[in-house]
Amino acid sequence: MTTKPAYVLEANNITISFGGLTAVNDVSLQVPFQSIISIIGPNGAGKTTFFNAISGFYSCDSGTVLFQDRPINGIPTDEVANLGISRTYQNIRLFTNMTVVENILIGQQPRLRSTFLDAILQTSRNRREEKQSIQKASNLLDFVGLSAYADDMAKNLPYGAQRRLEIARALGNNPHLLLLDEPCAGMNPQETAAMIELIKTLRSQLKIAIVLIEHDMKVVMNISDSILVLDHGEKIAQGTPEEIQSDQRVVEAYLGSGTENLVEKYSQRKAANRKAVQPHVF
């Protein structure tokens, strides 16, 4: 008799270092089912690195990652995807020379069973699966509002649409947990508002738990159940949006000491960052 685990994901005391640099230092995070959790922190705080640890891109130096009570440390990324964790990337990484639908079909990989022999022999399993997966891809496209682009090359999509496509692709494997790395980066206010809506629907309609990294404080304060603040690889605070806004340490870590409104300052920073090229791979 198994009881339903308390959290969809538990990361306990994660530490990751690159040579001398400790990018993530003893950080823990619990993600309840159907929750939206934001990770914030200055550039280079270790947010993306923390994501990479959860999704199997990097192995942790110490600490454990439990997915529904099951340890997933050190397992390859394709198996992480099989279990039901999906992610998007800070600088969009689509399969650029494939169509939008094909991108989502790749996202469904963990749910497909037909082999190359099925394909050559055109077995009924192959035909059925092909039909179902294309239907599902079309449904997902409709859900994220990209039906108009369905058969275009991914590289020809406008920027905002590419971010949405990454999310649609990530939904292909029926995830329990979705990791979004700066989903609103570089978007204008309208696109940002639409993205907030989409993220909320993901939770309310599709019952998916979401962890997102975001620099836009308006977004973060708007949708998060809980916020985790990292600085120099360390967790300096975690709490509800209200708690974080009034946390003196957070304000100092970001902005130096001062009384100005955190949200204000942050959006200025974001505007400045928008032009800066992101230096990392992920």
Partner: protein, 524 residues
């Protein structure tokens, strides 16, 4: 004005240098002979007539000048006088250069010095051909006439076409035809017509062997064998994105396995065609597994170098005295088996086909089988996973593609197809030896894939025709065959870097269902 002046001289120099270069390697007179043969079928011998050389010289200047004028006038237009002056200037510049060369060469000839020690192609006969068998002064006048006429013709043509905008109208007209072509609309309306058209093409291809002569049959045979190889390599390089260089190794494995199984020596097994073919494919696939597993974690350059090494190892092994008892060493294997023609064909067509015709049919049928297999693979989950890996290996894996097994799968299937090609090749020649498996074969197979368009199935077929068929068509060019071939390849890659027939993506999307379906679907 000044820029037009200096640019005209610059392009005149370009034309002149091309002329000089072509003369020094004796390319001009070879082309001149071909040109003559086009208009005068009675023409024999290899000496070009003065007129043909003059026309060719004029044409070179004409093309260069016309290209220049067209580009130049994109920004601002010139008066008619300027245009003609520019053409004249280009003609004169080119004329000066080519005359200079001929004056120098003519002087050497007059002194009785042989300069073949330095310039291999320039024999005294060649020089006198280029001097039009007359004296130097006369030849110089003729060259100037040719180049100046070429330059003037270019400027006149450009004047006429830009004033009346003929070329623009023609290109618009062609575009219109292509866009609104009845055939297109017709095909869109009745999708099954595409199938019928494809069938017609297949039938036409199948009629070929009985229609063409023996030489064409042998060329077609090798073209389709390369097309089969190309389809296999296309899976590995074009789809899964692994730059495997030693592809010839699998080809050799197939050929040798087939040879050893069917030849009377050294083992005397003398197996039938079909079981031997299947075993050959199987052995090549196992070879693919042995190569594929160790290289699955290599990327890019490392992969290319390691697989290149593998190709060489196989070639050296089959050539070595060490294995001579098994492989025949440098002598290779003789009397390799051929398939017997089924009695059925004789019954249907009255008499059996000639052996070479029958073999070409066999190659065509096997080609179609391979075509079907790769087509199915490409447009399936497997093919898409390969492509995703090619696009971004890390992300593909994070999407759930088991990258290493898909990589090995691509190499194994590609190797099996190469093994098939090798076996047919050995059977067709009834002989196989180490000389057949040089590195060049890998390069050619790779060229077949790249020229046609990576990942494109029809492109691969086209690539095979260009790589193996075109050089045969260019036979008249003799020594310059490979030079012209190389130039054509370069030109193609500049004009269409994505390949001649790039992949066309399929339209897959269907009408979406309601969100309720998605909700149920996505229930984790």
């Amino acid at each position: 004005m000044k820029t037009l002046f200096s640019k005209s001289i610059q392009f005149g120099i370009i034309a002149g240098v091309i002329l000089i270069f072509s003369e020094l390697i004796n390319l001009t007179s070879t082309f001149a002979v071909i040109l003559e043969k086009l208009f005068n079928s009675a023409k024999t011998g290899k000496t070009a007539s003065p007129l043909a050389i003059q026309i060719l010289t004029g044409l070179v200047v004409f093309f260069i000048a016309y290209t220049f004028l067209r580009k130049k006038n994109g920004s601002k237009s010139h008066t008619a006088g300027q245009e003609i002056g520019s053409g004249l200037l280009m003609g004169i510049t080119a004329g000066i250069l080519i005359s200079l060369l001929n004056v120098i060469l003519g002087t050497y000839l007059a002194k009785g010095q042989d300069i073949r020690n330095y310039l291999d192609a320039v024999s005294p006969e060649v020089i006198s051909t280029f001097l039009f068998q007359t004296d130097i002064a006369n030849a110089v006048i003729r060259y100037f006439i040719a180049t100046i006429l070429g330059g003037l013709a270019a400027s006149l043509l450009h004047l006429v076409s830009s004033k009346t905008n003929v070329s623009g109208k023609i290109s618009k007209f062609i575009q219109k035809i292509v866009q609104q072509s009845k055939i297109r609309i017709f095909l869109n309306k009745y999708p099954y017509m595409t199938t019928i058209l494809t069938l017609l093409v297949v039938i036409a291809v199948f009629l070929l062997p009985v229609l063409v002569n023996a030489y064409a049959i042998s060329v077609l045979g090798i073209v389709f064998i390369y097309a089969i190889m190309g389809l296999g390599l296309n899976l590995i390089v074009g789809l899964s994105g692994q730059l495997v260089f030693g592809y010839v190794a699998f080809y050799a494995l197939g050929a040798y396995t087939f040879g050893l199984l069917t030849a009377p020596k050294p083992f005397g097994i003398e197996m039938n065609f079909w079981p031997a073919l299947i075993i050959a494919i199987f052995i090549a696939a196992i070879g693919g597994l042995f190569v594929g597993v160790p290289i699955m974690n290599l990327r890019g350059d490392y992969l290319a170098i390691v697989t290149l090494g593998f190709g060489e190892i196989i070639r050296i092994l089959i050539n070595s005295n060490l294995l001579a008892d098994f492989t025949g060493g440098p002598q290779g294997i003789k009397n390799i088996g051929q398939p017997t023609q089924p009695a059925l064909t004789a019954k249907i067509f009255g008499k059996p086909f000639d052996d070479n015709v029958w073999f070409l049919y066999l190659i065509l049928i096997l080609f179609l089988v391979v075509l079907y297999v790769v087509f199915r693979l490409q447009y399936s989950r497997t093919g898409r996973s390969w492509e995703a890996m090619r696009e971004d290996e890390t992300v593909a894996q994070a999407c759930g593609v088991t990258v290493s097994s898909y990589k090995v799968l691509a190499v194994v299937i590609g190797a099996a197809i190469a093994g098939l090609a090798g076996a047919i090749y050995a059977s067709r020649n009834t002989y196989t030896g180490p000389g057949e498996y040089a590195f060049m074969v890998s390069v050619n197979a790779l060229a077949v894939v790249v020229i046609g368009g990576m990942g494109s199935i029809p492109g691969t077929l086209l690539g095979a025709f260009i790589i193996k068929g075109l050089p045969e068509l260019l036979r008249d060019l003799e020594n310059y065959r490979m030079l012209v071939f190389g130039a054509l390849l370069i030109a193609m890659m500049i004009i269409r870097p994505e390949g001649i027939w790039p992949v066309k993506r399929r339209t897959l999307s269907v009408t979406p269902e309601s969100i309720e379906v998605l909700k149920k679907d996505l229930k984790p």
